[in-house]
Symmetry: C2
């Protein structure tokens, strides 16, 4: 198995997952195939939806002598006629639905291995939401015990060990941690179907977050039994990679059609509000006239089209950086889902999410309501503002609120005069305080806020502002404002220098600006836009400022300066000795060669590449954050930008 991150957004990731039977792009959906009764054949799924992974139930095969024999003789791939990756479930869910299923936990793992399943599942103990903590704990311990015993029987099969723990986050996290320690291959989050059936999405979110916090981040995570596209985007944003759908068939049997916004009864519809090939081929009337079995199959196909399309939208949203926006759009269709998003505002969860949030995106940050103030990107901005930005002067001029910090309502000329004075210039914005030096930096210039925002948003922004201005003498800017003449105006600091210093400290940490910009500074600006492009210090190009996000790209000399000034392990990704020659050749850093890194590095951060003796090797851009860097065995961890040819 290989599993590597290709793109990312929120705590979600677009990965390539490989089994003996081929590649799968995640996030993805495993349609559930009932070997007894296939409503849609795997071949048809492959043809219509490009399905290259699916799930079937080993327990059903095991219990049916005919299927069992065929599976043992020719393998599960032949049994269901599919040459992609096959995951098998173990009968746990059947035991939850029908009570005790009389299965030997080891035997069912061996059976899955013997029929050639690509991913087999242990017989875990299904934890229900109604359990006491004690009962749930027993189930978790038994699940861990069975996982341990199963590991030695898996052979070449990948083994999926479901995370249980009912609605107790501590148990979920404990279970996840223990299973991760066993080096299992694949982690379903189990026991969540009753939560989804009752729309207990807040509890579902807590379960996912707790499990993710305990899990090895380098392994695929599967939300077991999640088949309705309504919740896919949220689950992906929290780090789930796989879903499985029997819903397409169950709902079809029940005459219900799945839509992005929920489910509708076929009989209630006056027309088909969808353009999938089924709904484009048939009118409501034509579908009604089909015989019942055929109609059910067509509805099942529609359900699959909608489900797979949602995953395509999610993958696009990840690569373009608007996954949170998609999550909010979907949540707006359901009050319980929308309530569940509030769980993410809790400080612990926000802290966890911030670690995974990319530092820069292709898509602007859109204001959608008070929840935007709890966006991990805004949370990070506020955090760094207090930790890394130092107002230079005693006096601060506060500009009135503009819709966007970069489109202020006052004349450029006056601002230009103010920029020459020894005062801090800060805009009161809906994102909180925005020092003018930072106004081109992501997410400040890359955010879209309407004029009219919620009161709650204003209050949060005001609180941050108050805290920010606490120790400053404040002048609220008015047209024709003159800065008091008693203020000494000697030696004003050039505003471009103020800008590059502030951005450097915000991006790399306190001390970075001093390290990078000590010496004779030459700032090269774009002729077309007048914006800062390159910064030359003592004749050497140290950093470039990117037009798209106003953040710096590190050059080799800039890296050297930061390396000298910032103490180990700040800003560093540490590679093992055997990787050094490859880095020197300019090759990217693969995760398996990373031995440690600065815990404050975030995805898409600029970083220093060093060896285990902290020798400077080069500069690059991270793809992974620390927990991932330390666990992933496959894929690129850091894209090397420039490297030193020798030590």
């Amino acid at each position: 198995m290989t599993f590597e991150i290709k793109e990312r957004d929120a705590a979600g990731r677009l990965c390539q997952f490989t089994t003996k039977h081929g590649n799968v792009t995640t996030p993805n959906l495993l349609p559930v195939i009932n070997p007894n009764k296939m409503m849609v054949t795997p071949k048809e799924m492959k043809k219509r939806f490009g399905t290259d992974i699916l799930i079937t139930n080993s327990y059903i095969i095991y219990k049916n002598p005919e299927l069992k024999k065929k599976a043992l003789d020719s393998g599960v791939h032949a049994l269901i006629d599919f040459d992609g990756s096959i995951m098998t479930d173990s009968g746990t869910f059947q035991s939850y639905v029908y009570g005790d299923v009389h299965l030997d936990p080891i035997e069912i793992v061996q059976f899955q291995r013997d029929i050639g399943s690509d991913i087999g599942t242990i017989l875990d103990v299904f934890g229900t939401p109604g359990q006491t903590k004690e009962v749930a704990e027993q189930g978790v311990l038994e699940t861990i015990e069975r996982a341990k015993k199963s590991m030695s029987h898996k052979g070449e099969m990948l083994l999926a060990c479901p995370v249980q723990g009912s609605v107790y986050p501590q148990l979920r996290e404990y279970c996840a941690r223990q299973l991760s320690a066993l080096s299992a291959d694949f982690f379903p989050i189990g026991g969540v179907v009753p939560l989804m059936e009752n729309q207990r999405y807040s509890d579902l979110v807590r379960c996912i977050l707790a499990a993710k916090q305990g899990l090895d981040p380098s392994k695929p995570v599967h939300l077991f039994g999640a088949g309705h596209p309504l919740i896919f985007s949220l689950a992906v944003a929290l780090g789930c990679d796989f879903f499985d759908s029997s819903a397409y068939a169950k709902y079809a049997n029940d005459g219900r059609m799945i839509f992005q916004w929920g489910t509708e009864k076929f009989d209630d519809l006056t027309e088909l509000p969808c353009s999938c090939p089924i709904c484009s081929k048939y009118s409501k009337e034509e579908l009604t006239e089909l015989d019942a079995k055929e109609r059910t199959m067509q509805i099942a196909l529609h359900n699959l089209y909608v489900s797979f399309t949602e995953l395509k939208i999610i993958r696009i949203a990840i690569s373009e950086g608007w996954l949170w926006k998609l999550v909010e759009q979907r949540a707006s269709a359901n009050p319980f889902l929308s309530e569940a998003l509030r769980v993410l505002r809790e400080p612990d969860h926000l802290q966890w999410l911030e670690q995974y949030e990319p530092t820069s995106k292709k898509t602007a940050l859109f204001y959608t309501g008070p929840q935007t103030m709890y966006h991990p990107t805004i949370f990070r901005y506020h955090k760094r503002l207090f930790a890394r930005y130092e107002p230079l002067f005693q006096t601060t001029v506060v500009f009135p609120e503009g819709t966007k910090p970069y489109s202020l309502f006052y004349s450029r000329e006056i601002v230009d005069i103010l920029k020459q004075k020894n005062v801090n210039l800060v805009v009161r914005s809906t994102l909180g305080p925005v020092p003018l030096e930072l106004d081109e930096m992501y997410p400040l210039a890359q955010s879209v806020f309407p004029l009219c925002v919620d009161q709650e948003t204003r209050e949060i922004a005001q609180q941050v502002m108050d805290r920010f201005l606490k120790n400053n003498e404040v002048i609220v800017w008015k047209e024709h404002l003159m800065i008091p003449t008693e203020e000494p105006l000697t030696h004003p600091i050039d505003f471009d220098k103020r800008r590059i210093s502030a951005v450097a400290d915000m991006q790399f940490g306190v001390g970075a600006s001093e390290a990078l910009f000590t010496g004779k500074i030459h700032i090269v600006k774009s002729k077309r836009t007048g914006k800062i492009r390159n910064i030359i210090c003592d004749g050497s190009h140290v950093v470039s400022m990117r037009a798209e996000d106003g953040l710096f790209t590190l050059k080799l000399d800039g890296g050297r300066r930061l390396h000298r000034r910032l103490k180990y392990p700040l800003l560093r990704v540490i590679v093992t000795d055997d990787a050094v020659p490859f880095i020197r050749e300019g090759k990217s850093v693969f995760s398996k060669f990373v031995s440690d890194c600065d815990p404050d590095l975030r995805p898409y951060d600029e970083c220093l590449i060093v060896d285990e003796h902290d020798m400077f090797l080069g500069v690059g851009r991270t793809i992974l954050m620390r927990d991932e860097l330390l666990t992933f065995r496959h894929g690129v961890a850091v894209k090397t930008r420039e490297s030193t040819k020798e030590g």
Copy 2:
């Protein structure tokens, strides 16, 4: 032409519109056909999308000698090979884009008539957003003048007179009122393209609302130049019936694909996040490999699939009563659209919207955020609570907040005891105060609120609660609360009677309960649910309570009682004498036979049907509200439920 309302939700309507060339269900989209260059032929549109109305440009035909001759010889239907309804535009938009087009306003109307256009458009004066009020007013006056002159030249053609007025609501409303007075047939809202191009959706909403407030509600309204599905649902909710799309082709030429949530560049996409027949047939790679012209056409088809599907979704949302929910979902994709929804919270607009809002729906009201507190249904509930509900006693017991007023957190037994006491029982809910007598009535029992709502919501609910309790002695309920013994407990009013009285007054107005329930009351309950079903008063069945919305259905005897007690024109729909025999036969009331009605009647309200001398004819349920009842010439105004056989 006929135009009649079949279903409705918000201020939107699902209508049947008929021209000489057939029926069209609205809301609908008119694809723009460029007669010089058809990217997709009308035939193909008919086949793929069931297109039965489209729009082409008479100015382009007029200016091209060849097209002009053909159109005059064989008609515009033959020219573009389409046998459905054809609307033609006049060149106004071209004059906006290219400057003066040298057209005679009368000549172009005559030309449209002569080529057999089903709906021709006057050459109105395009008002741009940047105009001063004076310039805009000149344009409006000239537009009205041209409309007046054009009317006598339209022949059998329907004449569309665009409402102009730039961004000045008063001008928009004035223009709308003047054009309506001319009895024009069809009302585009013009001059809005620049607003949409700049995402000035708040201004767009104000323009639509102002126009709608001035327009004859019985005529189709077309949002001119609106081709992106993102705004369809909002425009429909405000009463727009038609859109036109050249966007499908323009965007395709530009390599852009339309989606529900916005627009994406084809080149930027890694896969196609859609399941329409185009995106199901081709992969991204396959589409890339097509030659440019063919690819553009396929993208145009995709754009049309997405656009037409959005209209299907909107029509389903109207018939199922979740149009506002859809509007909010779409708005969540765009901060400016979401900002525009705030305009609807302004008291004047809310007042206008409330008039059109159905009094009962098939779908529950879902909480989506503070905006839900400004939902016309909630607004109406609060309004009626203060106008029509009278607390019976001096003392009010307030129950703590429950998620839903009907699923209280306390024991049923205690509540049952309290119900026998002389105190008001009120639940503190997120919808505001809910007297226990009303807790099964729409929208109280038919709303879904999560446990955790926004602070703004709580504050609004609290304000209404405070106002409601102002003159009452308040006891906040706690477990084991005992009502003070000094309180006289004699003659408690049976709670079922309290319930039917309160609901009757809320639904029909003050005095209704006294009229309906004076005499010996017998309440028939459902054996299965224990809920109130029928109320017999002095041996006669006066009303039934509906299980789905907890509101009353009027029986003939109930109608008689209300008719005696409630003064003219309360609760009445007044029909002309020639309709009387039909009503007596139990036929429904057609709008053209309505001479007036109670201005407080709302869609789907129970009503009294009377003749012009206020003789009671029967009871029914309204389909239309007053402004509609007085203007619509086609369709059912009131569904007669029961009628008297003689006077």
